[in-house]
């Protein structure tokens, strides 16, 4: 099959939507159904969502940031690092009204795959799905981080001298190297 014939098929993937705002849950679920996703599980808080994950095998999680008592980042860290997390590798798209650069990097450093600033559009959400499907990332475990490789390109394991490998690994998973403004924009654009 040529590149021109490849297409996305979303009808057999499971998506968990976590947002404490029911209007946003309705919107996101409706967009997902229209795009072909048949299996959507909703949750209104992080604790409920984590319980749902024990029996709903989510292939993608869409999570809002601003919630209480656990916020979206708390939930992401639970999924990534809790001993009883059923799938720490699940791709996670974070939706948020937060748009500041530091927020995007904070989400990235918690282990989010993609960030989508609200207000959202059907096209922007679809593009985030396409990005996750087209660019599966290896995961990195360091002392301070567990999550998807934070470099936008998949460069594979670092090569070269020990110092160069250490720098590259730190960039992929360690603290200290942030996204460039262009990378932040590419994470957020429609």
């Amino acid at each position: 099959m040529s590149d021109s014939e490849s297409r996305y098929v979303l009808d057999n993937i499971n998506v968990l939507v976590l947002d404490d705002n029911r209007h946003m849950r309705t919107l996101v679920q409706s967009i997902l159904h229209a795009l072909g996703v048949k299996n959507v599980c909703e949750a209104a808080d992080a604790a409920q969502a984590f319980k749902e994950l024990q029996h709903f095998q989510a292939d993608v999680i869409i999570v809002d940031w601003h919630m209480e008592p656990l916020d979206g980042l708390d939930f992401v860290r639970l999924v990534r690092t809790a001993k009883d997390s059923p799938n720490p590798y699940v791709p996670i798209i974070m939706l948020s009204g937060y748009t500041e650069y530091r927020r995007v990097t904070e989400a990235r450093d918690a282990g989010v795959n993609e960030f989508l600033a609200k207000p959202i559009s059907a096209k922007a959400l679809y593009q985030r799905f396409a990005s996750i499907i087209d660019n599966p990332r290896p995961f990195i475990r360091t002392k301070n981080y567990f999550g998807p490789d934070r470099r936008r390109q998949n460069l594979g394991p670092p090569r070269g001298t020990p110092e160069r490998r250490k720098d590259a690994v730190e960039e992929a998973g360690g603290a200290g190297v942030g996204l460039t403004p262009d990378e932040v924009q590419s994470l957020m654009k429609d």
């Binding site: 098929v9 919107l27 409706s30 967009i31 229209a34 072909g36």
Partner: protein
């Protein structure tokens, strides 16, 4: 060398694509999704009524109640404005997102509100009512621009006052 490990988990989303290479977005599915969003926008008017009523409740508390109630109201205002910032434009009311974003930026760094600050909050809430009542769906044109400039001016005044 950093103590780090690369892990290659199984790609469970392989089933979400047929064929190899980069796929194009299914435009029909996207059009369907966008039509659904338009339909939901019609329901948004009920939801916006609820949210605007919640803003009024919070404003009432900020104007009259004790310090503890005001702190709780300020926290509620932060959440309401952040939610509306995210929702408004998602449902076709771009100006509501813009105004709510400004309101959220205004209250975010504040633990308490002066009387002038409360006036600024009230101005933003009044603007939200006006935009919604007039069903302003896009950037509001000249009126929208003038409204945002007006809000920015009173915010600047309040910020300058609070720094003294």
């Amino acid at each position: 060398m950093a103590d780090a490990k690369f892990i290659h988990p199984p790609n469970k989303l392989r089933k979400a694509k047929v064929g190899t290479g980069r796929a194009k977005l299914d435009l029909k599915a996207l059009q369907k999704a966008e039509k659904i969003v338009e339909k939901i926008q019609e329901e948004y008017s009920d939801w916006a009524d609820e949210d605007l009523a919640a803003f009024e409740d919070v404003l009432g508390t900020l104007k009259s109640d004790g310090e503890e109630e005001q702190r709780a109201a300020l926290k509620a205002l932060y959440t309401l404005s952040l939610d509306m910032k995210g929702q408004g434009g998602s449902f076709g009311f771009r100006m509501m997102s813009e105004i709510a974003a400004r309101l959220n930026d205004f209250v975010a760094p504040r633990d308490v509100l002066s009387k002038l600050d409360v006036d600024v909050v009230e101005a933003h809430i009044s603007a939200l009512h006006a935009i919604y009542r007039e069903n302003v769906r896009d950037d509001g044109g000249k009126m929208g621009t003038a409204l945002l400039i007006g809000l920015d001016k009173i915010v600047a005044k309040a910020n300058a006052r609070s720094q003294k």
